[in-house]
């Protein structure tokens, strides 16, 4: 009897380790990304022609080789974007549980924002946002 009962146990998420859903989420995301990358390669029609493989530059033949070095400004802009984008992304988990975390969560988030605001003010004063 117990055998049957144990077999009939419903596999509920609560009894899984807390990271189960996260693992499933990552797996599904990874598989979907993989599918989107590989499927067109398999199914879509391929009609290569020499012009199609060349670089597109507003309809004219590319005038200069792209191998020239990029000015460092571009990397600065990229870094700043990553920093403040990750900051914005890290609000979500707190925002979802805002009521549960109550005052402690709010204080924690404020500290987090203030620290980054100091960095923001520093970059602004040093002219990191101006392109010149």
């Amino acid at each position: 009897m117990t055998e049957a009962r144990r077999v009939g146990v419903v596999y509920s998420f609560r009894s899984m380790s807390p990271y189960g859903p996260v693992a499933i989420y990552l797996a599904v995301a990874f598989l979907a990304a993989l599918a989107f990358c590989l499927l067109p390669g398999l199914v879509a029609r391929k009609k290569p022609n020499p012009v199609k493989s060349e670089a597109y530059e507003c309809g004219v033949e590319p005038t200069s080789d792209v191998s020239g070095r990029f000015p460092v400004r571009f990397y600065l802009v990229a870094m700043l974007f990553v920093i403040f984008d990750v900051e914005a992304a890290s609000f979500y988990p707190w925002a979802v549980q805002m009521h549960a975390l109550r005052l402690f969560g709010l204080a924690e988030m404020l500290v987090f924002v203030i620290v980054l605001a100091i960095g923001y003010a520093y970059v602004w004063k040093r002219g990191g946002f101006q392109w010149r």
Binding site: R45, K52, Y56
Partner: protein, 160 residues
Amino acid sequence: MALGSGGDFLLTTVDSVARWAQSSSVWPLTMGLACCAIEMMTATAPEYDIARLGSEVFRASPRQADLMIVSGRVAQKMGPIVKRLYDQMADPKWVISMGACASSGGVFDNYAIVQGVDTIIPVDVYVPGCPPTPDGLLYAVNLIQQQIKQGGRGGILARA
């Protein structure tokens, strides 16, 4: 991929789904040449609203465009560029020759105009008018959508 009859059934439904998806979002390439380009812009304006056909996203790069609307007269200097843009568009692709100048040189039967863009790239739908009203362009996009749905290029089975 040699498939049994079951496989064919599977592929034809996938193909018809692919054709439905392709026909309901035919993205044109931003390539405005002359007066017809103004009427093409007016087709995206509220009165005619090409968004109803799913074509309001004008892609600047040929890599992401399905439809090239040759809107205006093609000068001799612009001819090779239109040809290059057409070649750089991803397959399957369609071409609307909008207006009399693109279709046949129109009123400019002279040295400077390519007498019909179909002499340099294959054209699917010709739109008469100088310039055609935006309704004419909407009807042309409709014809392109019907072409996609009823066969010919598009979908996943056709190898043309």
